[in-house]
């Protein structure tokens, strides 16, 4: 049972792709929780929604490729620009003029574009372990589309970050991957959720979301985006992150002139593994940007 049911849900339709969104709570300030990479979807925010919706109007949505959103086939359907346009389409459908955005992992990359090019719709931006690729990518990324030998035993290693492997055994990859997302001790529940959500999509779709045929922003383009951001920002990063380089968050914070909150000993999923500290930070940030709701205390 979910801790909090949405007040409203619906689909934004853009270019024939249906995007499922949910709206929780009310209040003058909207917090938009962007989805990460489609290996998971909006349920990654399950520990944020009940709390944040007591203080703000909260909007979540599922990315193209997972959850209740459509799973278009071709790699070109997962260009960075299209994913950014999805966020705007959801804001339109949910009647959000402007929101405080919170972008986790790949969602951080989406938020950066959004804040840079649609500044009037982003009042403040929280980047959580954003996937930017500003530093050199690990070697396995380059081998993603290389064929795997039929006898290669790559399960349980980064070599399983491979298109063939995903088509063949997505559960094994998900098992390994979420173990890396949550390096902290006592994270079984969080990793289990990750695997469960990954299996709601399929290997072929996930391969498309990572395909080299996609058009994506380069590191230089992302740095230029950061220079165009004018809203207040906050960067949150675990220094034990095994998925993205914590150095990227340091660089982003410096480019934005934004504070960086380091979760020492935190991995890639700090919102799931350290929800209390995370929730308080987001609330405080959103209030600093948009003011606190009037009321007696």
């Amino acid at each position: 049972v979910r801790a909090r049911q949405p007040e409203r849900c619906g689909y934004a339709v853009r270019d024939g792709v249906r995007l499922y969104y949910e709206v929780f709570g009310d209040g003058p300030t909207t917090v938009l929780l962007l989805p990460p990479w489609a290996i998971v979807y909006s349920r990654v925010w399950k520990l944020q929604v009940p709390y944040l919706s007591r203080h703000f109007r909260v909007v979540t949505y599922d990315p193209r490729g997972n959850g209740r959103s459509d799973r278009p086939g071709p790699a070109s359907a997962y260009d960075d620009a299209l994913v950014v346009a999805d966020a705007l389409a959801v804001m339109d459908a949910a009647e959000v003029d402007a929101a405080v955005g919170v972008g986790l992992s790949y969602g951080g990359r989406v938020l950066l574009s959004l804040a840079a090019d649609h500044g009037e719709r982003v009042r403040g931006a929280v980047f959580v372990a954003p996937t930017l690729g500003l530093s050199a990518s690990p070697a396995f990324v380059a081998r993603f589309e290389e064929p795997l030998g039929s006898d290669a035993d790559v399960a349980g290693t980064w070599a399983s970050y491979n298109a063939d492997f995903w088509r063949d055994d997505l559960p094994a990859f998900a098992e390994f991957f979420f173990g890396q997302v949550f390096p902290e001790a006592h994270s079984t529940r969080q990793a289990e959720n990750g695997v469960e959500w990954a299996l709601e999509t399929d290997g072929e779709t996930l391969v498309a979301t990572r395909s080299s045929a996609r058009r994506v922003l380069t590191a230089e383009e992302l740095r230029a985006c950061a220079a165009r951001v004018t809203c207040p920002s906050l960067v949150i990063q675990g220094n034990g992150d095994r998925i993205v380089s914590p150095k990227d968050s340091h660089e982003l914070a410096a480019l934005l002139g934004a504070p960086l909150v380091v979760f020492e000993g935190g991995g890639h999923g700090v919102q799931a593994r350290h929800p209390v500290r995370f929730n308080l930070l987001v609330r405080q940030f959103a209030e600093s940007v948009a003011g606190r709701a009037t009321g007696t205390s």
Partner: protein, 695 residues
């Protein structure tokens, strides 16, 4: 003494009136603490300035009519418009482009008028008990200074008015402060302001002016405010879109009576509208990765706590080897702590000086310790706020406060600020009057302070996880804490755990003075006298008396020698030179030297006298006059041990003291032994809070 002196002060000029201001700190954001109805001056913010100036640049203003500002005559000189112009003049004079305004009562109108004239200079407004009169009626207005019943009796009106503003129990100190500030001006000035031209004058104007405010606003308002009804604050908040914090059971001056809450509200409000979160740069550490850490707050009043705390800390480390201890302490305690290789928290340097306060309060061998303590309210508040910052920057597993009165009092006043196990240790419980016959006010105030302490404990027992009384309960006086209150001993027995008195050595090792004398290089075969007065400069008069007495002793005992230890805060050069007398400043492990003495002459401080008791040396002690602890608690405890000869400085001549010294040298002490193991017992209790049942 003030907790924080201004970095800069001066006068702004508005027409022909000079307006006094003070500037504290150097943050990039400025807070202008506005003036108000001139029964106070800028000192009304004494509970805020030390804390806020750690984070912001703070400018305080004396409203015209009080403090260092001029007192022009006639109502025209005190109109709202002209008072707003005063604040603007202070912004100009201090080179402040823009500021957050913090205002009480009438200061809110002046803030509105200031913002109307120059909106870009007002970044935000903290409105305490907003006095925008036309917004709501006041069903029961306070009597004005020129009401017939107060004619010719300004002090009478001041007492009435100040009392009405502090309806809260245990407000004697803020009440007295307010009376003092009100008496800095006169009935004519207060009357002139009372009849000054109002702006806004009508409800319509007041609504328009409030609505015109464009900056963020925070309203703080007490429900028991007799000056400005809380409904007025609520209406003002509605009109300005402000957040209202309604303070239940609180009067007109919350920042004086409830400084911690008001300070944290102001800080949070300003932060919210300036810096982004997390800008302190403090990383958050996954809880299971944290090292065990304790913060030890060690009071500087009396050096004796230091050695017992070091002994307990050492014993605690034996039980919890991975524990890191950080000390929050000021000189002279911090010097001793550092000399023992302990880690001092860097914020220690920012503590307001308690030692300097005590020295400023003492005269000859006289220190009215209770009044001095009471007048230390500002320093205690400043140091609590520093503690409050420190414990929010670093997560601790344990707070230890040895006679940390600041921490203990304000945690009970603000129990929601407690976020770690907290142990309070003390060797004195409650205030006992030193002059119950002659000073009725002292007796009344002591009882009020004790009643507050009892209420604090009974209402919020969770604030302390452990209360440790150092010594046996029978070492406490059996005197009542006040009319219809329990006795010191009974109440302590009920609310404290006890450990044997902690001496920083094994008394058994100090029973052979001759061997010790050889080891410390004193040699043997002559009478050795030692005089010492503890850690502050308070003891100078006693040392002068002792030097004179020793000169007389030398006439009878030509081979006698004296070692006079002046302590870290008293220059030995200030004391006379006497043949056979050696003067020394600070001496490490003073107790070893005392344990060599044939006779010691000391102040009535607990640590020194108990060290002499444990070492079974003859000694003469002089409790400080009017010092409740030395007069009552120490003297009682020494009586229980059958130790020491008590003398009174005011009634002792050098001849008397010389005779007593020679006499004492002939005595053979048979004191009750001091039980061992106090530090170990205390450490075991503390360790339990850190390790749970496993430990």
């Amino acid at each position: 003494m003030r907790a924080r002196e201004p970095d800069l002060s001066g006068h702004a000029v508005n027409g022909d009136v000079r307006v006094h201001y003070e500037v504290f700190g150097s943050g990039s954001t400025t807070l202008l603490m506005m003036g108000t109805f001139p029964v106070v001056d800028g000192r009304q913010w004494k509970g805020q300035v030390p804390y806020l100036s750690r984070h912001f640049r703070v400018v305080t203003v004396d409203a015209r009519g009080n403090g260092g500002s001029d007192r022009p005559s006639g109502p025209e000189a005190y109109g709202d418009e002209v008072c707003a112009a005063d604040a603007l003049a202070v912004l100009d004079a201090t080179g402040t482009d823009a500021a957050f305004l913090v205002a009480l009562c009438s200061g809110i109108k002046w803030s509105l008028l200031l913002a109307q004239r120059e909106p870009e200079r007002v970044l935000g407004l903290v409105a305490i008990a907003p006095g925008v009169h036309p917004l709501t009626p006041n069903p029961q207005p306070l009597e004005p200074v020129d009401a017939p019943q107060w004619a010719g009796d300004y002090p009478g009106w001041v007492g009435y008015h100040s009392g009405a503003l502090f309806p809260e129990a245990h407000s004697s100190k803020p009440y007295e402060d307010l009376v003092g500030w009100s008496l800095q001006t006169d009935a004519d000035t207060i009357g002139a302001r009372t009849h000054a031209p109002l702006s806004p004058a009508t409800e319509e104007d007041a609504v328009l002016l409030s609505k015109s405010l464009r900056c963020p606003v925070l309203v703080l308002h007490g429900t028991e405010d007799r000056c400005q009804p809380v409904a007025r604050g609520r209406r003002f908040a509605e009109l300005t879109g402000a957040r209202v914090v309604v303070l239940d059971g609180v009067g007109h001056v919350p920042h004086a009576r409830h400084p911690v809450r008001v300070n944290t509200e102001i800080k949070e409000f300003v932060d919210m509208h300036t810096t982004d979160v997390g800008s302190s740069g403090t990383p958050w550490l996954f809880a299971r990765e944290r090292k065990r850490r304790a913060l030890w707050v060690c009071s500087p009043i009396g050096l004796g706590h230091t050695l017992r705390d070091l002994a307990i800390a050492k014993a605690l480390r034996e039980r919890v080897p991975d524990l890191e201890i950080e000390w929050l302490a000021q000189p002279p305690v911090s010097d001793v702590v550092r000399a023992h290789g302990e880690a001092l928290h860097p914020a220690s340097d920012e503590l307001a000086s308690e030692s300097a306060h005590w020295e400023s309060e003492s005269e000859r061998h006289d220190l009215h310790a209770f009044y001095a303590f009471r007048r230390m309210d500002e320093i205690l508040c400043a140091n609590y706020m520093l503690f409050d910052d420190v414990v929010r920057e670093t997560p601790y597993d344990l707070w230890v406060g040895d006679e940390a009165w600041d921490v203990d009092h304000f945690l009970h006043e603000n129990p929601e600020r407690k976020i770690a196990p907290y142990v309070f240790m003390t060797d004195v419980v409650g205030f006992l009057p030193v002059d119950p016959e002659g000073d009725a006010r002292e007796a009344e105030l002591c009882a009020d302070y004790n009643a507050e302490m009892i209420e604090h404990r009974e209402r919020f027992p969770f604030v302390r996880d452990l209360s440790v009384f150092i010594g046996g309960f029978d070492e406490l006086p059996d005197a009542p804490l006040g009319p219809s209150l329990p006795t010191v001993r009974d109440w302590t027995e009920q609310w404290f755990s006890t450990v044997p008195y902690v001496v920083p050595f094994d008394p058994g090792a100090y029973r052979r003075p001759q061997a010790l004398r050889r080891r410390l290089g004193y040699g043997t075969g002559y009478p050795l006298y030692i005089a010492a007065v503890g850690g502050t400069a308070v003891g100078r008069s006693l040392l002068e008396l002792t030097a004179e007495a020793f000169a007389l002793v030398r006439k009878e005992q030509p081979d006698a020698r004296m070692v006079m230890v002046t302590g870290p805060r008293l220059d030995p050069g200030l004391l006379p030179d006497v043949d056979g007398m050696e003067k020394r400043g600070y001496v490490d492990s003073l107790f070893e030297h005392l344990a060599c003495a044939d006779v010691a002459v000391v102040q009535g401080g607990l640590s020194t006298t108990m060290e002499l008791t444990a070492a079974r040396r003859p000694f003469i002690y002089f409790p400080l006059a009017h010092h409740w602890e030395q007069q009552h608690f120490v003297a009682h405890r020494l009586d229980r041990y059958g130790a020491g000869v008590r003398m009174d400085y005011a009634r002792t001549s050098p001849v008397d003291l010389a005779a007593a010294m020679i006499e004492a040298g002939r005595s053979r002490p048979a004191y009750r032994p001091v039980r061992r193991g106090g530090a170990d017992r205390a450490a075991t209790m503390l360790a339990g809070l850190l390790t749970g049942p496993r430990g």
